[in-house]
Symmetry: D3
Subunit: 298 residues, 6 copies
């Protein structure tokens, strides 16, 4: 089971300028084959389908707890897209063509299917789909897959980072490069313990250091590249059996129970009358308040 | 963000008989257009994309907290499939054709892609995909969608229930019929408060009462059809503003913070040598134990 | 625009025996790449997109009127599937597993997504999709496509005919072989008039004569292989400029305004309580009657 | 069966300016999940698959007759796209790059796959597919689906309206907002009669009145929001049992046998030599005329 | 089996200017329904699945040898896309947004999924898929399909030619128009021999002569429109039984064993540091050289 | 470019018994995400898109030459499927339902779309598609992908081996396990030389030795697990710089120019009148022979 916390993984800065095509590029990191929907669902299914859990608990705990972190990453990327789209259009009567910019934007779905918000699609509008999930049941093969998947995801993040200077996008991408780096190392160490092969020496793939990306630096300065969290109140603590030892950067790996200590508010998305969203007029709102009261038996 | 709990929504009975084609049918409830992957992702994206949250908090809380419950439902259906497949084959040397039954089974993916476990596909093997997500941003429309989606999901559950007498499948389906019924009512009440239209009178769709399904009864006797949980330690408590009043069955609606008090262990899936899963021999295991010790600096 | 007539292209015999896997095979003729959804939508889009209509009217009329006939073919195949599924299951309480046969049937969608009725899928459950439509705007190329498409469709019909001896399936397939043969010849003649090349000599592809299929014979005895209808009250009558001359079997080609003189009733599908379809109890029915009266102001 | 009429639902104005990206947006209303291909095929399959028709005839007649109207809507949207693309390019020798604008247009399919005409795709080029069809066989659930589907379709129309000021697009969209409004009300009333719940009070969703869209007004002034047609010569007349009473705007609901009295010519699409469409030269044309004469035995 | 030759079908000129949207259009000729992936895989599967080979050897040889030529065409189109993308971006630190142009380009996949190189997608980013393969086993039907497929492919090439004046694109397209013309004629002649119907008279479809495209002319001057190659050292020589006689342009058809005498070098793609491709630094390179030596036992 | 050789990679034994559902399982090894179409197309695109070839030639040669071998593997699996289907049905008049067994078979496509032969689909009938191709341009990442892909492919082969005892299937699978093992090692060694990390120690994944599969043994006895071929007359010989040293089994790695010395005839597929394939009657055949003569100018 899962419990939800109404908090974002980090605080996202508000975009200075709407960047709809940038938001479209960021969709790759959400619904692409190497996006967060993929990491989430791969690990989720692998944790459901894990064979021999009692004997291989530390490996299970790694996969199961990273699953939980990935939910937060899906949430973070989705909120980034939403903020990047903010301000793309202005209210106006339908006959004033208030959504005119959408016609030439790369992703019309943002404007027609949703009210300028995120969808489970990649940067070309192709829906995320279940064929992206790998869950063979062979532990070594699944770990190898995850190691590869995270390296692929890192590459895509690095490239999307280079496509837009939007500050929300960069803040999110920098943070996820650091956390994705943790997952790469976690799967590499798991592979290493499972096989004895020193896979961590392959890291980083691509070889460019995270430090080359400005928004990673504060997180690395904080040591976030060395921390793995259980994302659970009490469970999955055997991650510490794998997540132990020395980081390639020299620091000490630290496993923590629970969530990171930081985080940010979930951005408030304002009314967008030109999208009929949420489509609740002041009068409607009064009536709703009235009905809520009545429902509460007041 | 999300925190994970290493516990299943309910305790699942172990199947008496392997039921691979039954498991294939149950895939519809996991990866079908009206399966749990769909309810999960619809509400997850709607909660990310919610406009006007501060003014419409009770509605947001309903959508956001049900999202969290749905994760547990995805987990429950996946575990059910795994248990239904248990025992389908027996170990044997490759030349003894140990997977021979798979050739005639409906879903070869269970045997080739995974080690007799769940995948994000429907009962025909079609991958779940992001085009199943609806997130318009218009509150009334999204609630109407969710109400419809849950009624569709109920219909599919009722039909799959009738397709197999496997006790794991029935236990899961009975429970989800009850909890799905809660979600139907929650969206109906939300719609009613948002619009003043008494949508709850449409319930149940289809009109057959949950009581017609044996495995629903103990949950209804417990009152689970009247309880909505926040699935959060502290957040989403304004669900109680909507989830209040009287259930169509006459009892009182009750909103709870946190998770339900019950739950069950996550089933242990044994080794399946004929699937090379997890593929860790006793010798491997000893070496792994050794490496874990070394990693721990012992 | 289109007008609908509540009549089936031919009278369909009632199946003696339910044949769910046969119905699954027949789905190929409905939603397959060479099924009736494809012929319908190809000609529909080509007629919408026709360039130079005023100068090339007879060609336009051929494509436009065959579109209209294809609607009736989609309807006929769908009704066939429905009749083949009839009687697959018997009513019973959910706990008596009344849909148990569905678990091992080839197409679970017939039982879960619909109440044992047709869906826009092929025989493997793959949804029909718009990539099957060809509409290049080049007249010769579009006609060549249509000629090929109809030959492909003929081949699939011949093969499905050989897969089941269900009498409803055979009646439908025999009739459509005859009518499909008309369309093949129509496009061949259109190509011939457009280019001067005697394409009709390629017919039939495959070379087996329709007469080899028992249920074609009565239609051929009636001369239906020589008739083309406008499927319109007043329009598309220039089909007669192309559909003129001698049939390869020696008879005279005849173009008719309107629909064929024959036809059959649309089969009545009974209640299926085990599918909750239509899900209207006798009590509900009385209330509906009451509400209809009230609505009528009585 | 269906009969075709060579007339468009309304007269479409000729676009002043080509608007290829606008045409790409309008594709959503044709081949999108909530476009006219979806409404058409949903109702078509539901009418084929209707259980208990003889007892529930007014409901069947509603679904069956709206199906027929939807064909005309598919046709209308397709013709709109064609007119919006008109004039996008000019003829020229291939080496003069006459299709150069297509390279940067949103939908290259309009220029490569077709000769600047409509295709069964959505605004992102994703093909329409059969997974968009819902046909559960449960009457209430199917009606609820249709009510929701029409509200979703309305939302998409409203948003596309706001994306382009192209007059053809607006004329079509305004008309379809009015007619779609009729379908919403029809399904709402059907639901109401089937269940007794006053669903019509939910209307309109989104709450913005059709009158906010300039091109709806003349149709509403004519009363088209209050008329439902059988789109049949003789059948489906029991729509009048449901389509009776008072419109939310106060006027009287009127059911008509047949088609609306108005309509427009199907636009003539000129030669487009740079697309080789129709690709018939003046010399070819003379030869065709000659062959037609010969074929006619003259 | 297949043997590979490290040579390109023709020498490709280097593009003067990067043309990313042109490259996106050219993707249609690679991964589109009528692109080279389709011709390749259609003929490959038909050759695998050929029934009655010993009696129908000349037909088999035609299909089997054209398969081999198509591999080279896939390679040629892919290399064209790569050259068209060359120079789209310049190296720079990630924070200088070196991939900024990609955000507004039509095909973000070129920049995120690959390092500015070709992918098996069409011009809208839709992946090539196996439903594009037709392999009925009926010889006449398969030949008719191939004839149609090649005419469709020709049309798409002609249209893409008109979309960009990029010299690499034009050189490739001109050559493939000529070679595609050979395949059209080959299938037409095969059909003619199989049926006696003079299908070659339908050619060319569309009717515009290849000579209208500047870059075809040198190949036609060389006579490449009249030559068919076995693309094999020793096999498939019975193509000469079909590929014999007179070309519509009057020249003599010539069948050759082996590959054409011309060809070009495979373009060298330089480092693209902003894409981390190949991602091998000078230091890495030295180490690799060292390891290669060690591996060689030096 | 590619040259074709009319020879199969190995001689395939003729199946004793038709095994249509086994053939359906084997489809996974052809058109599945981890089937031969995937290995082929991944390496083909990576070889087209290779950056820095002149400096990294041995790596290019590995990828490019394995591409060529994979064509032969696609061919081998397709021919296996064809042989497994042989004898599934017997000729008979259409009214004798000669294809009746197809109705209950897992893959109706084998019988409707093709004449009991292979298609580019996986074991569930899902078409192979281009989203399965990975071509990032980063050398290490692409090699890591290929190493993982081959391990996934090995797992699927091992599982399919266990699903049927059909001797054709086993002969093919055994051989491909050996050759796939070569590719795994080749990519592992390439990774090792590129990074210095001893990835070969991870092998084999899954850990079960090839020797556990009877049909691998003769190939291993021949030493085929230690040989890599260029599959080219003259090119790609720098594979020897990587493919050098000692095999994990102790023998010496050997690189060869050209194809293996062994091979087998391509099976002849007989007439299948019940599928109308090839559909050439004895009379047709005489006429064809006549036309071939005439075409040859005899």
């Amino acid at each position: 089971m899962f419990k939800r916390v109404d908090r974002l993984a980090i605080e996202l800065p508000i975009s200075n300028n709407p960047d709809p095509n940038g938001a479209s590029a960021v969709q790759e990191l959400l619904g692409g084959k190497y996006g967060e929907m993929s990491t989430l669902n791969n690990y989720m299914f692998q944790s459901f389908n894990f064979r021999g859990r009692s004997k291989l608990r530390p490996f299970y705990d790694i996969v199961a707890s990273i699953t939980a972190e990935e939910f937060g990453h899906v949430e973070l990327v989705a909120n980034t897209i939403n903020l990047m789209l903010e301000g793309s259009t202005s209210p106006g009567a339908p006959d004033s063509t208030p959504l005119r910019i959408a016609k030439d934007a790369r992703m019309t779905s943002h404007f027609i299917e949703s009210a300028q918000t995120a969808l489970p699609y990649d940067s070309m509008g192709r829906p995320w789909n279940g064929s992206y999930v790998f869950s063979s049941g062979n532990l070594i093969l699944d770990l190898l897959h995850n190691f590869f998947l995270e390296c692929g995801a890192r590459t895509h993040k690095m490239r999307v980072y280079e496509m837009t200077d939007n500050n929300t996008a960069r803040e999110m991408t920098g943070y996820l490069l650091v956390r994705g780096g943790v997952h790469i190392l976690a799967y590499a160490k798991a592979l290493e313990i499972a096989t004895g092969v020193d896979v961590t020496k392959l890291i980083p793939i691509p070889s460019l250091d995270n430090k080359a990306f400005e928004t990673t630096r504060k997180w690395e300065a904080m040591g976030e590249q060395r921390r793995l969290y259980t994302f659970s109140d009490k469970d999955y603590q055997q991650i510490a059996q794998i997540w132990k030892g020395v980081h390639p950067d020299g620091g000490k790996l630290e496993a923590y129970a629970g969530l990171p200590g930081y985080g940010g508010p979930i951005p408030e998305l304002p009314d967008l009358p030109e999208e009929f969203a949420p489509g609740i007029s002041p009068e409607d709102f009064l009536q709703i308040a009235e009905r809520l009261k009545r429902n509460a038996g007041l």
